[in-house]
Symmetry: C2
């Protein structure tokens, strides 16, 4: 493949909005070699798994944050932004059961950026990565004419025998999730509508969850050590979208029970005040950075107890993996919400 | 360090243009831990060296390319841009004597970007990285409101016993450089002034050198295997700036002999046509992506011959490392160009 001139002529003139983010990723994946040397997991997953020495693997992931696309400077301090940029990447490493190790940071800054902004941003990044046992080891800075861009690359360590992937979920496995869902979406609502009347401690709780999420690396490592988790992802785009990653990789379907979604009181209160549906926030809100994973039915209670004992984080069973041809759907007691959501893919950058 | 509020109050209100790119990098380096676990070379160098297994190291580098700062779409095709983005990073790995292995790519694209642009960009990246024996293994895509941003993160392998760093140059060592200098700057001149009258083969040569530079990874590996190189950098910002990196890391000075700079006929021709000084282009033009390294005086000829025999690339001696207190200067036959250039740092993104 030397240039697109040799590509399929029918695609000439197509824009990326015509094929969407996931269409673009599939297209890119199709252009690259399928099994490059030393690559155990490659393009398409959130994290690449690389064989750096005989029997030793390295995890590698990156995430670009663009001002006024991913964040607004009026809504988050530079310190919080630094913490969040690291947390998002740590969450990806956590979803494989890995340990965050080393980060490189690319920064593109408008020329009139204040030094204080960079100080606070690095203060936040340093704080979050040192909490997770990692370090910033390099990077580069550049000017940009418009708005701030931050790209973070994170490498992590993992025991190759214990690594948890998206594939491996089995029909009948219980779907478990750490912590609570929807808080981040509630925090975003409060930022956009600061006039909403809610309890101040509740407001602080959901705002913190949105601005400085706590990636579940301890929980991920505990789950990897247990050796009982069949498949795992982090909930970055929303449960419905992220469970779909496991379903596609594992060739299964999923039933999510609406009444079992773990939703906090603060989230419910904000949703009520806003006249919005907290169930919708829990299913599709995104940016929760919880872990979602599959465990054999007879071990689900024990694994949930183990995580809570070791990390203090509760785990809730929210459904089951089912045969692939039954699709992905949400069920509610007394209701027949059988609409197949297999094609629901959550937030798409280009649509 | 939790936020800049605890930092030095006197810096409040400073802009990044007040302290410059190198000032900003020093400031960031000062905020981070000096010796994080497993980090053999950390922030401040172009490449981090990480201990991934007992006795095994991984090299990691990244470089962000911003439209209308680093490239203009009218001046380079997406295919060429893809090749260049990879080449720049491969050159950094080459300067340590490493082998390029795995890359992750972060792309931020305006919504109206054509799919063909992405196809061609990836075509170029894939071509260049496969030439160097590496592979693209992951990444992410995002929208951006303004212009294209491409950030490439490259990991490389190296023999820790053979790794070449910036420190290690000794007084008396000869300074050698691969290939020719100034071609890329000549190519840029031709892009900006397409009316210049020059031989078409010469024009093509310097345009190619600017748009699709050939990173010297074969030469870097040959030099590392020789075990005779004391210090090395790649020439990305210009010889004068880049030799300064070795001088600072090795606590030496440098004398560059103007008459010995390897400048191609095409570069000389473009400079003459433009009424510009080719010596200036060779010293400060940047983007040559040649290797510059120090070798003991009595081994310089042999090392140069070895590289030429193994790779076909000529190496030229352009000066010597001298005592630190003599500074960095350029000498010319019959002229006393003794101006100390120790503080010359080449292109600064923020000044």
């Amino acid at each position: 493949m030397r240039s697109a001139r040799r590509g399929p002529g029918k695609d000439l003139g197509l824009k990326i909005t015509d094929i969407g983010e996931f269409g673009l990723i599939s297209r890119i994946a199709g252009m690259l070699p399928r099994h490059p040397p030393g690559v155990l997991v490659g393009i398409g997953d959130d994290v690449a798994v690389l064989e750096v020495s005989p029997g030793g693997v390295l995890l590698a992931t990156c995430d670009i944050q663009v001002e006024d696309v991913h964040f607004r400077r009026a809504w988050i301090t530079p310190y919080q932004l630094g913490r969040k940029v690291v947390a998002i990447n740590v969450s990806d490493i956590a979803a494989m059961g890995g340990s965050p190790a080393w980060a490189l940071v690319s920064l593109a800054l408008p020329r009139d950026t204040r030094v204080e902004f960079v100080d606070e941003l690095y203060g936040g990044m340093q704080e979050e990565i040192s909490r997770a046992g990692g370090a910033i080891v390099g990077g580069n800075v550049s000017t940009i004419h418009s708005r701030v861009v931050i790209d973070l690359f994170l490498m992590g360590r993992a025991d190759p025998e214990k690594l948890i992937r998206r594939e491996g979920a089995r029909v009948g496995d219980r779907i478990l999730v750490t912590g609570t869902l929807g808080d981040s979406r509630a925090g975003l609502e409060l930022i956009q509508r600061p006039d909403l009347k809610v309890d101040s401690a509740h407001a602080r709780r959901v705002l913190d969850r949105h601005r400085t999420p706590s990636p579940r690396w301890r929980e991920g490592q505990c789950l990897a050590s247990s050796g009982r988790v069949h498949a795992m992802v982090d909930v970055s785009d929303g449960v419905l979208s992220d469970v779909g990653h496991i379903c596609r990789a594992s060739a299964v379907g999923a039933e999510i029970r609406l009444s079992d979604l773990p939703v906090s009181d603060p989230c419910r209160e904000v949703a009520r005040a806003a006249g919005k549906d907290w169930e919708d926030w829990a299913l599709t809100g995104g940016e929760d950075y919880e872990l979602l994973f599959g465990v054999a039915e007879d071990q689900a209670d024990e694994v949930a107890r183990l995580v809570e004992e070791e990390t203090g984080t509760p785990c809730r069973c929210i459904g089951s993996f089912i045969p692939r041809d039954e699709g992905i759907f949400v069920s509610a007691p007394g209701k027949a919400l059988k609409k197949d959501l297999s094609r629901f893919r959550g937030w798409d950058h280009f649509r």
